[in-house]
Amino acid sequence: MAIALPVIIVTVVGVFCGVLLSVADKYMAVPVDERVSEVRAMLPGANCGACGFAGCDEYAEKLVNEGVKTNLCTPGGAGTAQNISAFLGAEFEDVAAKTAIVCCAGTIQHTQYVMDYQGPQTCEACNYNYQGRGSCSHGCLGFGDCVIVCQYGAMEIVNGIAKVDKSRCTGCGMCAKVCPNALIKIVPASSEVFVACSSTDRGAFTRKVCSAGCIGCKRCEKACNFDAITITDNLASIDPEKCTNCGECVKVCPTKVIRVDQCQPQINVPDAG
């Protein structure tokens, strides 16, 4: 009967563990709110983080349990916001449509490559190893990390720099996160005038490396009637809150780096049902 004791011991331990687990599962179960999974299903599921939370799951949980605003999901747009508001009985606020802009105008016509770069063909690697292959270290690297990350097919590389197709862009901000030179910015879709440069080098240097760069001459600052333009670190920036898209700055800009991009972004039509 020498076999009896080990069998008993293993059985007892196994049964004890099993009972303990099932008791724990029963008495310490955390009730799962079914509304969370339904709200989750209404979200686009891109997990882009534009709402400011870690992903669609967390946003859905916060919507149900903490009553965060329903209009934070820019990819989903007004339709998603209305659906969720109706489902949760929360107040509906319109989604401020946003879009990405590429703050670089350094196409191959305006600037030059300074090396024949043969390394890994990504912006991140080229920037990490050589600060870019072009003469301007602030400019678009043109390998298209943003193109790869965009889930809506809104980015493309044209003439060596990234270009946003505003009719497809949802303003989720994934491209802005991956750009190693941080030259993609997310702005309200209503703003049409923007500074297509990110260089903070002095004007003389910028002029030498790129014929389309901002040289910090301050003519736009003086021309603006609404105090919307400020020059910091040799670079003009437009405050979209104050800008009225009047175009005075576009007229005076000597390097034509302040541009108008009027293409309207996609209008999110709320679902009829």
Binding site: L5, V10, V30, A125, N129
Partner: protein
């Protein structure tokens, strides 16, 4: 006191679980791509190692040894560790949701991790007392963390390197792991040198 320091440091550096004993290679290669997930995984492993040692040591010395059934240790330890990890997950989910959110995804992965089973069995093999066993488990966990963090750094450098097509992916990762492991051989004998 001196004994505790010796156990702790030899577990971290000389007898490093991943790089010297080659236990827990699966999470070492799988979860070391990003630094924050590497740290999350290592904290979870350390936590479970200490808990597993704290439960299996008494079971071995108060249940198995008196009945002369020490050969049952492997199978019983697997059983206990698996149940323990599940229990810990349920408890954390209920009472410490914030910790569950940061460790949660890693806990089920650890259920059958050989490094956890390894540390409990080695504690028995080395005939450590309870306190020394706990210290050894902590050291093993910290050593796991050291290896994970080091390797996450190595891998982030490899992301930006030109790698021949035939070596891209797993092969270059294994080669890098073996070089890091070779580097750790430099620690052998260091404990005798310092404390001996």
């Amino acid at each position: 006191m001196k004994q505790i320091v010796i156990i702790l440091f030899s577990a971290i550096l000389v007898d490093n679980f991943v790089l010297s004993k080659f236990l827990g290679i699966c999470p070492f290669l799988g979860v070391s791509k990003k630094l924050d997930s590497a740290i999350g995984m290592s904290i979870a492993v350390t936590f479970v190692m200490v808990l597993a040692t704290a439960t299996t040591w008494p079971v071995y010395y108060y249940v198995l040894v008196p009945n002369h059934l020490t050969y049952l240790n492997t199978i019983l330890f697997i059983l206990i560790i698996a149940a323990l990890v599940q229990l810990v997950e349920i408890i954390l989910k209920k009472y410490v949701p914030s910790l569950h959110r940061s460790l949660g995804v890693y806990l089920p992965l650890i259920t059958t991790n050989c490094a956890v089973l390894g540390v409990t069995l080695l504690n028995i093999e080395e005939t450590y007392g309870f306190l020394h066993a706990i210290i050894n488990a902590t050291g093993a966990g910290l050593g796991f963390m050291l290896a994970m963090v080091l390797f996450a750094g190595v891998r982030s450098k490899m992301e930006n390197a030109v790698i021949t097509k035939s070596f891209d992916g797993i092969p270059i990762t294994l080669i890098a792991a073996s070089i890091v492991s070779l580097a750790f051989m430099g620690f052998s004998g260091i404990i005798d040198g310092i404390f001996g």
